[in-house]
Amino acid sequence: MDQWPLLSILIWLPIVGAILVLAFGRDARVARWLSLITTLATLIASLPLYLNYDAVAGGMQFIESHAWINALKANYALGVDGIAVALIVLTTFTSVLVIIGSWGPIQKRVSQYMAAMLVLEGMLIGIFCATDALLFYVFFEAMLIPMFIIIGIWGGPRRVYATLKFFIYTFLGSIFMLIALIYLHMKTGEFSLAAFATAPLGTTEQAWIFFAFLAGFAIKVPMWPVHTWLPDAHVEAPTGGSVILAAIMLKVGGYGFIRFSLPITPDASQEYAWVVIAMSLVAVVYIGYVALVQDDMKKLIAYSSVAHMAFVTLGIFISLALVRNYANADAARLGIQGAMVQMISHGFVSGAMFSCIGVLYDRLHSRMIKDYGGVLNVMPWFGGLFIFFSMANCGLPGTSGFVGEFMVILASFQSNPWIALVAAFTLIIGAAYTLWLVKRVIFGEVTNPKVAKFEDLNAREWIVLGSFAAAVLALGIYPKPLTDLMDSSVLQIVNALMLSKA
């Protein structure tokens, strides 16, 4: 056992860094460098997590447990499985790029911005580490505060509306989850997720708990029809906020489904899987069409996020039918694996897309598609990268976007070919809205004289977009390290699904 409490370090290092930034960051340069050092240190600290995680054994590792509230048997209990490791590394990686990306664009109250980002990073890592439901909930809710501040202070013109909507909407969902957690605590007498997973629950109880969890996580993902906060929040958030929101915060919802809904309410999840699957398919098709008609680039990517995240929920819930109705555990593993790969991939792709839009926004201060055109002529490098990320966004083989979607569609096909058919529509619709965006923004003649004066990427932007591009490409060509990392953890989840709890 590692004697270093690695997970605690990962959670608290950014938070301590945030306090230091607030205390000494009166000079913006100090604040920036201090935040960069903190996020880099966190990234480096997260590498041993990946390297030392025993993927063959699977299960929870790096376990830490300290008594927190004895009266409720709530513990400061941390642990990670392969799924969590992948998401933590995604978080630490993206956070570094977000700090670098915010170097220039954020000029107002730099130390507060950086501190909020660092606190957010710590909270997100905490969510992926927590194996105690109360601790999870605390991180889950607490992360709203820094995000609320980030959108509200550094956001666009309608930032107050957007941030209030974001906060209240997500709070609404998760507080129902809190009631479910208290109910489970009443049943089991503790807050550990392992105890929740083994507690016998009747079908009615499971159904209520399932829908309480669904309220919490569906809003976070967000699934159609509770996605409406996302376009507003994305459009108004500063670039860094959008990147964190799309790349990591949305993943919390998918992670919650895997960590809570599946193990705690397997029977209800099976019974109502059709609800989630139907919502996912609606999102894939309908939201795809909604994305098509957007004239705001950020909104377009936001809607495309909703459509892509629908693959995550589809993959997770299709596995239930596969396990229970067809006894096809291999396909179920494929579904959950695909959902996870899709989450990681979407983290990179959407983070990159929002960073690209940030690059354009910094030059023209507009997000409207019609203001651009012919960017490739003045920014060839940027144009190339933008096209590359767009290809990844519409799932071109060889990029990471392809792998997850393909796995999910493959798994769905074994359950019901019709579901797979509808899901596969994304390849057409996704290509339509993404490529049309590329056509209007990147290609064509330069019509706007301001666009003609654009300068190509600076070194800072190169680092951000280049890193994202490397990640997208690596995951697309050789996803095996990622799937190996998660394989036995996913297997354990699938095995648990076979057992009824009622």
């Binding site: 609320f148 509200g152 507080i175 009631i179 208290i182």
Partner: protein
Amino acid sequence: MMIPFNPADLIAIQPELVLLGATCAILLIDLFIKPSQRDITHWLSIATLALTSYLVWRGAPELSSGVTAFNGMLLHDGISVVLKQFILLTSGLSLFYARNYMRERSLLVGELYLLVLFATLGMMLLVSAGSLITVYLGLELLALSSYALVAMNRDSASSAEAAIKYFVLGALASGLLLYGMSMIYGATGSLDLATITGKFGQVEHPGWLAFGLVFLVCGIAFKVGAAPFHMWLPDVYHGAPTAVTVFIGSAPKIAAFGLAYRLLEGGLGPLSGQWTLMLAILAVASLAVGNVLAIAQSNLKRMLAYSTISHVGFMLLGFVGGTPAGYSAAMFYIISYTMTATVAFGMIALLARKGFECEEIDDFKGLNQRSPWYAAIMGIAMFSLAGVPPLFGFFAKLLVLKAAIDAGFLWLAIVAIVFAIIGIYYYLRVVKVMYFDAAAEETALPLPSDVALRWVISINGLALIVLGLAWGPLFDWCNRAFGV
């Protein structure tokens, strides 16, 4: 009948005696000092509260066993120790927050300190009352001092109006309470709460008890400020000088918890099947009225007053089970609420200037630009009131919700969270004006130079985070007090 006097009883009320003696001494000392030396009164009062707190601590009986004094008139148990400590703490905090504000308005008179100290004495009596008489005695000492405190700014019409309203409605509530008590006395023939509980079952006219209970519940609802008996609360909080609002909005809430607990559980515990339902209805009404009406307020003090009503509703969730675990959760809740409310009201007092009350929500515009530190403290208080983890207020909400669910009131818990979500909005609005709006000209005034005030409010604010991360010991303390 000759009632034997046991000198050992004096030991049990030693803290109260010391507080009384010191208050009288301060009264005399204050007469002989110049107004410019009012700081002497200030620090003497703080020292008195600290000394009393120490004596309560030292004299604490084995928690949950408890001793009685004066033939059961006073109860000295774990519950009274916890409540007294927090009453003394919040009274002391409000004195810190009051000084600068009152001095700038030439209201810093000795009476402020004396009335607060007397009110504190009343609250201490109230929370260790073992008989209907001591309950009433403590309550009236608290109430009369509070009426005078609200009228402190006698040249202000709104302050006088608030005081009259407070007095009339407070007197009405006392009347209801007394009437209920007389019914209970008539039914059981005793004023002693333990005897009343013991006689239950042998009562000739159980209807009288139920009748009395209704009046008691109404009286209690008036005093804690639960809807639909909340009308006085917004006007009083709004009309009173902010420094006084800090006080009446904090410590008396803890005492009101003691009042409710002593009368309902201590005296009428066997009737809990009836009063839990009444409290459940009061809780729903308070949550609805408090949260919905708070949205419409533009005055921060008024908004916080309505928010108080909703928090009282939350506290009552702990009562509906009628179990020690529930009371413990309710006590934890009320402690959490007062600790947070002192920060919120204290911040209004801190930012106010001579001629500028800083009590409109818009007066907080752009506070983050002027003073990031105080904006953060106020933000913490607002998020804590809203019940966002990892702050103190969240865990208090968690515990009362758990208490309600454990008691089988799942519907009540769901109603409560629905209103909690509505409540989020108006707390967030305060954060919004502080962080997202630009400062208006007239609010850009320098901050006060009172160092003690700055430190105390900062520590108070940070305590909300610390107690949020490590609330176990406090919760254990509450649990031990109730023998959970």
